[in-house]
């Protein structure tokens, strides 16, 4: 439909419908007198942010393979920027420049559809980083600087980069939209089921608001939704089995929640509340996209193991013979 994968079309249409109906729900809640002024302002700020974020996230995926890859590259760079400024790594400009270069090259490898280079960049960038860090000739704090650089590159370059590479698959558009939707809803499900059934804290030191009830509730609801969506995408293939679909759903929900907890741990260690202030009502980009980090590689390699990613598409589009 409109040149889109049917699943991608229906997910986009669904998101547009939800965004259009949300103000009506807010108004209904307000009529019923269920909104305190503070909650009302908070909901509207968040809603307005989504009104910008959702098109910014979805449009590049729908337009073209390359816009999706470039979009992921920009997101990776912005997330790295927030991480570097929160940890202080940005003061070490040479290391920062290598991480940024690594992210740019990963983006190029994905755009070129050259998996060999995409994989090679992990070890090559890390080697370059630890070597470039030598030039300052300051052994004090060397481990901390390069460790932060390697961690940042692994998270925002390698892990997030899988989303870009995914766009090379014929069904990549649909997979990416399904993943984005389910990861974002995973947070919402955890919040709602946590409010309803949450008794015991999940990790009170790391993230005091999360409950075991919320984690299990999210795992059940997200798995069901994701399994349904993936079933539509992989209809009739080796992946179209109940246990595969269920495993993918649970994996997505868990890696999503772990991503959230990892960023919470980092924030606690740094002693900051948010990692940035880019998105009104959400904090930084990383506060919004933290749950995406580990989902991408997990989904990519699970699906890739059974179906391959982009196998029937031309490879080395720009650098090939």
């Amino acid at each position: 439909m409109f040149g889109l994968h049917p699943v991608a079309f229906w997910i986009s249409a669904g998101i547009v419908a939800v965004l259009a109906l949300t103000p009506l729900i807010f108004l209904a809640l307000e009529r019923a007198g269920k909104l305190s002024p503070a909650l009302r302002t908070d909901l509207w700020t968040r809603y307005k942010s989504w009104l910008f974020l959702a098109p910014l996230m979805i449009a590049p995926l729908l337009i073209h393979r390359l816009t999706a890859i470039i979009g992921v590259g920009i997101l990776s760079l912005l997330c790295y920027r927030e991480f570097a400024r929160a940890t202080g790594l940005f003061r070490h400009r040479a290391i920062s420049a290598v991480v940024a270069l690594g992210i740019l090259l990963l983006t190029c490898a994905a755009a070129d559809h050259w998996y060999g280079f995409f994989v090679a960049l992990s070890s090559l960038t890390i080697s370059l980083l630890v070597i470039v860090a030598l030039f300052a000739d300051q052994p004090q704090g060397y481990i901390q600087r390069v460790a932060l650089g390697v961690l940042a590159f692994s998270f925002f370059g390698v892990c997030l980069g899988h989303y870009g590479y995914f766009a090379n698959d014929k069904a990549g558009q649909a997979f990416l939209l399904a993943i984005l939707l389910c990861v974002e809803l995973n947070d919402v499900f955890a919040y709602c089921t946590g409010k309803l059934f949450g008794r015991r804290k999940l990790a009170p030191q790391t993230s005091p608001n999360k409950t075991i009830g919320g984690a299990i509730g999210a795992a059940i609801l997200t798995s069901a939704l994701f399994a349904t969506l993936v079933h539509q995408i992989v209809d009739g293939t080796a992946l179209d089995r109940h246990w595969h679909l269920l495993a993918l759903g649970i994996l997505l929900s868990l890696t999503g929640q772990f991503g959230d907890l990892v960023m919470s741990s980092i924030k606690r260690d740094l002693g900051v509340k948010d990692l940035g202030a880019t998105i009104p009502g959400h904090g930084g980009l990383l506060d919004r996209f933290d749950s995406l980090i580990f989902v991408g590689p997990a989904m990519f390699h699970y699906i890739g193991y059974f179906l391959g990613v982009g196998l029937d598409q031309p490879v080395r589009i720009f650098t090939g013979p």
Binding site: A86, T87, R93
Partner: protein, 241 residues
């Protein structure tokens, strides 16, 4: 091994537009690139168009913190003083610019932050708090400030009275203050002209003054302003070399 220390950016947690105006703003990778490119362009322009000559560069301290003060008669002044610094000190140098001109609209603030690396001084509401923040920045970073104690551009090209506020930054601190005098800027780019004319510029840099022994209170600030005004006037009157 020492305990790991994380030091988030000074402007961490501020919204983008607040961060541009923050006295604790720190340049990242992008700002480093834009400021370096700007510096190269400005140096080429000053050398080519204004035939800029610098005398007394040997007086500049090798390391921050220090403060450069000068007469103020044009928009060329701050970029000329900053351009006289060696390349390796470029990231430490902050021109102190009038907030109501250089940080009023978001677009101009973006330029001032990303190109000039300027920090805002709000002339109408510049209380002791802002001066304290600037002083902390100067000593803590440590940084190099480029500032104009007259507080505004001269309308007739003559040296005005130095305001004592600058004393709050350097009194009772081991911070050298380098007096400078920029010849020719008023002729090249007076406040009532839009575009600069191709007139020659001569920047004289004098020997640094120290105010570690001066008390950090009003009388001390006035003494500092007076001594620096005399030093800058002396550079103006010294015979050409």
């Amino acid at each position: 091994m020492d305990e790991w220390q994380y030091k988030p950016a000074g402007d961490h947690g501020l919204k983008p537009e607040e961060s541009l105006r923050s006295l604790r703003r720190e340049a990242g990778l992008v700002a480093t690139l834009t400021q370096s490119a700007w510096r190269l362009a400005v140096r080429a322009y000053l050398r080519g168009y204004h035939r800029l000559r610098v005398e007394g560069a040997e007086h500049l301290p090798k390391q921050p913190p220090f403060v450069m003060v000068a007469n103020h008669s044009s928009h060329l002044d701050a970029i000329t003083l900053a351009a006289a610094l060696p390349w390796r000190l470029r990231q430490s140098a902050f021109p102190i610019a009038a907030g109501d001109v250089f940080f009023e609209t978001p677009a101009v603030a973006l330029f001032s932050a990303m190109m000039l690396n300027a920090l805002p001084m709000w002339r109408k509401s510049c209380g002791p708090h802002a001066m304290k923040q600037l002083r902390e920045r100067l000593l803590g970073d440590p940084a190099i400030f480029v500032l104009f104690p007259e507080g505004t551009r001269s309308r007739d090209g003559r040296l005005g009275r130095f305001k004592p506020g600058l004393g709050m930054l350097v009194a009772a601190a081991a911070v050298p203050v380098v007096p400078c005098y920029l010849h020719g800027a008023f002729a090249a780019c007076p406040p009532d002209k839009k575009l600069p004319r191709p007139k020659p510029l001569l920047l004289r840099i004098g020997a640094p003054l120290q105010f570690a022994g001066v008390n950090n209170e009003r009388a001390g600030w006035q003494e500092i302003a007076g001594r620096l005004e005399t030093a800058v006037a002396a550079l103006r009157d010294s015979s050409p070399s």
